[in-house]
Structures are given as structure tokens and as C-alpha cells.
């Protein structure tokens, strides 16, 4: 499995197809995060932006190989494992991007709650941890959306691209979605100057990602 993920990461890195998602993520941060803003608010924006980017990276990673090369890889490593490896590579890239985003946000933001009238200091280490957990939650859910909206479940580009956009949007705004809970937790925590610990959303996201990845992998050799 390590060899498969390593191969998929090499394909992603050398294809430079990570560049457009990276630029979109950077643009989202540039628009949504200003220096001196309350740190938890900005972390909420950064985490939310990771979700569509992760789904996009899944699209990149599941489509980077021509069919002939994919067939050789499937024979060598098993089709389900090969597909899981491409999902894992996309997830790892999204996590790396999200971690960099959290670092930038923590560096330029103000370690206070959003209510500046009160004395609302926010501990930076705890805020960083909460931001990383929320980012992880969004990366997992973005990977899940990507797994559902690409090969082997949706093979036509005409459906896959709008479905990915709609899916990512829906998962971000739907009440009860782990991503929504994690991001909302950061924003409401900012108002009260209390750092949330979004473990429940993270668990939900991990389950959703595992289930969708398993489904996609199981179907990869059947359709």
C-alpha cells in the first residue's frame, strides 16, 4: 500500500496538477482572511476552503493515469488498493495544504475572540489544534465528496464537475454535516472566546470518508 501511495503522490507532484487547487485555496484565504482578524474566525474560513480543494485533488488523482497504465497498476497491486491509494494521495495533499493554511492564519491573526469589547484572549496553541482538527474534518469530507463524484461512481465529466461543486457546497452548509459543525464550532467559539474541540465532527467525517472510499474502491473493478 505504501508503494502505491508513493507512486500516486509522485504522479500528483510531478504532474503539477496540484497547482490550480493550490492557487484557488490561496485565493480563498486571501479573500477570506485578513491580518489581525480573530484567529478562530479565520481558521474557520481556512478549514472550510480545504473541503472543495480536497474534492478537486481527488478528481486530479483519480484521473492522472491513462487507462493502460491504470490497468498495469491494477494487475500489480489490485484495483481496489490502487484506487484507495489515489484517494489517500489526494487526502494527504489536502492535509498538507490545509496545515500550511492553518500555519499562515495563526501567524497573521489576532489571538482574541471576535468580541473585541471584552477581554477575550484565545490561547494560540489550543486554537491551532482546533484549527487543525477542523481542517482534517474538512479534508476527510472533501475526499468523501471526491470519491463519490468521480470514477468509478461518476464517469462523465459533464456530471462529475458540477456534482463535485454541488456536493462540496452542500456538505459545507448542510445542518448536521460534520464539516458544517466543525466550521460553525470555530466561529461560535470565536464569539465566546472559547476554543472548541471538534472531535465529534472529526469522527463523523472519518466514518464518512472511510465508507465512501470503501465503496469507490469496491466498485473500481466492477464497473
Amino acid at each position: 500500500m505504501t508503494a502505491l501511495v508513493r507512486y500516486q503522490l509522485a504522479l500528483l507532484a510531478r504532474s503539477h496538477r496540484w497547482l490550480p487547487p493550490l492557487l484557488v485555496y490561496a485565493a480563498a484565504l486571501a479573500v477570506g482572511v485578513q491580518p489581525g482578524q480573530a484567529v478562530l474566525d479565520s481558521l474557520g474560513v481556512a478549514a472550510a476552503a480545504v473541503l472543495p480543494v480536497a474534492a478537486w485533488l481527488v478528481r486530479v488523482c483519480t484521473g492522472v493515469e491513462p487507462p493502460a497504465a491504470r490497468a498495469c497498476l491494477a494487475a500489480a497491486g489490485g484495483p481496489a488498493r490502487a484506487h484507495l491509494a489515489s484517494l489517500a494521495a489526494a487526502f494527504a495533499a489536502a492535509c498538507a495544504l490545509g496545515a500550511a493554511g492553518v500555519a499562515v492564519v495563526v501567524l497573521i491573526s489576532d489571538a482574541h475572540g471576535s468580541d473585541r469589547a471584552a477581554d477575550t484572549a484565545v490561547p494560540v496553541a489550543a486554537a491551532t489544534g482546533a484549527g487543525l482538527l477542523a481542517t482534517l474534518t474538512c479534508a476527510l469530507l472533501g475526499t468523501a465528496v471526491g470519491a463519490l463524484c468521480n470514477r468509478p461512481l461518476l464517469r462523465s465529466r459533464a456530471w462529475a464537475v458540477p456534482a463535485t461543486l454541488a456536493g462540496a457546497g452542500a456538505v459545507l452548509v448542510a445542518a448536521g454535516s460534520p464539516a458544517n459543525a466543525a466550521v460553525t464550532g470555530l466561529v461560535t467559539g470565536s464569539r465566546a472566546a472559547e476554543v472548541p474541540l471538534p472531535l465529534l465532527p472529526l469522527t463523523g467525517a472519518a466514518l464518512a470518508a472511510a465508507a465512501t472510499a470503501a465503496l469507490a474502491a469496491a466498485l473500481s473493478a466492477r464497473r
Binding site: 491513462p66 494487475a75 500489480a76 466492477r222
Partner: protein, 282 residues
């Protein structure tokens, strides 16, 4: 390795590409798969290589180390030939240094040593095919599946691939292949299967003489099932059929046809060399 009642269709309601396939690949055995283009040969090879799972039936005892070579390998991948092969070697369970060493050796053997550092998308068609063959052979697979792998190779590389197949067989590995050249590996004893009309029939084992029997039955009566020697079967225009069977089974086949009820009329019997370039007509 064996396939039992295996079927394959694309999508849940798609037409069956293959149905009711029973097939055996013995360890150390060579299996030739033949049939018309678009008849399901590639689908069968993908099932054998484990790239696709069957929609029905079971595949059992596939060797752990399986490798596949497609007919065309337009690998527009952002890696060098050597980089790609090293990655594939690792996927096959080799350590990085060993994978690299074998990759260099196989590229050298196929006369592509100088393109080891060439990006895959800059290789010629023949160069890409050599990389495709090398990724399969460097694993020393227990099951090697070749889908017209010789196409696009130069004469030297084709001979080298023939030799490599012999080495795999000698080492106890199984090799399944499709090739349009009827003389490909003709001197190696092998089993043959013919794919057509969604079915797979065992053909006469190769490497020896065969007999073509032309027979006519009662109008509308099908060819009896379970004929000796599992002959290749072709309907003839204007009624009747042509059965190709290995010479060892020809007497038994004739007896079975004559004894069938309703009986079959034998119109002709001709010896042929097997494989008869896909068309056994004299």
C-alpha cells in the same frame, strides 16, 4: 488458477460481454486466447489479470504476483521510464534498489537502456511498449497476461519477449496471451481458448497437428454438447459447421457425431497445422 461460470458485463444492465466462462490456467502453463476483434478477448484477459472483477461466477487461486501488458501503452505519465518502472517494482513488492536494478536490466535487454532517463511522454510507441513489457517482467510474475504485447515492438524486442515468456514458463509461472500472429510461440506446448459470441470454448491444445471436420446436422438441431476434445466450433454459411480439434481427438469426435441422435452427416475431414491463422478453411 481457474474461472468457474464467470460472466462480465459493464454496468448493471449492460449486455453480457462474456458469460459462462470455465477456464483453467495451470501453473507453468501457456494459454493462447483467440477470437475475432471485439469478441471479448481483452475482457477475458482483464478478468484473468484481476483488473476487473467478474459480474458473475468465481475466479479462484489467482497467483499473488500478477502482471499485465496492454496492447498500447501511451503512458503520458510525468515520470521517466526508470522512475516509472521503479515505482511499479515497489508495487510488486520489491525494494527500491532491487526494483531499479531489475528495471535497468530489462530496459537494457529490450534495447531501451538509453531511454531509461527519458520522460515517458517523450518515448516513441515502440519505446513505450518496451516499458510496458519491462514493468510486467521485472516482477517475475507467477501469472503474466499479455494482450497483444508484441504489437509495436521491433523484431529484436519481439524475440526477446518470446524468450522471456519461455523463462517465465520454465520458472513455473503461467502465461496467458493474445496475439494476431498465429505463429507466435507456436513451438511451445499450450492450451488454447476461443472467445466469440460472449462464450469461451476450449480449443485444441497447440503445438501439434489438428483436424478440421465439416459436418451437417438436421436443420435446426444444435451441435451436441460435450464433444470429445472440446473442438473449436464455427457455423458455416448455408448450414453445417466446421469443428477444429487436435488430431488426438479426431476419431472420438467423428464417432460422437455419427452416433448422435439425430445423426450428423460428415462432409469432409482435413488435417491442418494448429493454429491455422484463425481460419482453418482449406
Amino acid at each position: 488458477m481457474r474461472l468457474d461460470a464467470v460472466g462480465r458485463r459493464y454496468g448493471r444492465r449492460g449486455p453480457w460481454v462474456l458469460r459462462g466462462v470455465d477456464l483453467r490456467v495451470p501453473a507453468g502453463g501457456l494459454v493462447r486466447v483467440e477470437g475475432a476483434n471485439g469478441g471479448g478477448k481483452s475482457t477475458l484477459l482483464r478478468l484473468l489479470a484481476g483488473i476487473d472483477l467478474p459480474s458473475a461466477g468465481r475466479v479462484t487461486d489467482r497467483p499473488a504476483r500478477t502482471a499485465y501488458v496492454p496492447e498500447r501503452f501511451p503512458a503520458a505519465l510525468p515520470l521517466t521510464a526508470l522512475g516509472y518502472l521503479t515505482h511499479l517494482g515497489r508495487v510488486h513488492g520489491l525494494r527500491g534498489a532491487e526494483a531499479r536494478r531489475r528495471a535497468e536490466r530489462w530496459l537494457e535487454r529490450f534495447g531501451a537502456g538509453e531511454s531509461a532517463r527519458t520522460p515517458l511522454d517523450e518515448l516513441s510507441k515502440g519505446g513505450s511498449q518496451k516499458v510496458a513489457v519491462a514493468q510486467a517482467l521485472l516482477a517475475e510474475p507467477e501469472l503474466l497476461v499479455l494482450d497483444e504485447a508484441w504489437t509495436g515492438l521491433d523484431a529484436r524486442a519481439r524475440a526477446e519477449l518470446d524468450a522471456a515468456v519461455g523463462e517465465r514458463l520454465a520458472a513455473g509461472g503461467a502465461v496467458v496471451f493474445v496475439d494476431h500472429d498465429p505463429r507466435r510461440l507456436a513451438d511451445v506446448p499450450r492450451a488454447a481458448y476461443r472467445v466469440g459470441g460472449g462464450r469461451v470454448a476450449a480449443g485444441p491444445a497447440g503445438g501439434g497437428p489438428a483436424v478440421v471436420v465439416e459436418a451437417v446436422g438436421e436443420p435446426g438441431s444444435p451441435v451436441p454438447g460435450g464433444l470429445p476434445g472440446a473442438p473449436l466450433h464455427e457455423e458455416l454459411p448455408g448450414g453445417g459447421c466446421r469443428l477444429t480439434v487436435s488430431a488426438a481427438h479426431s476419431d472420438a469426435l467423428l464417432r460422437a457425431l455419427l452416433d448422435a441422435r439425430p445423426g450428423w452427416h460428415i462432409r469432409g475431414v482435413h488435417p491442418v497445422a494448429y493454429p491455422p491463422d484463425g481460419d482453418p478453411a482449406p
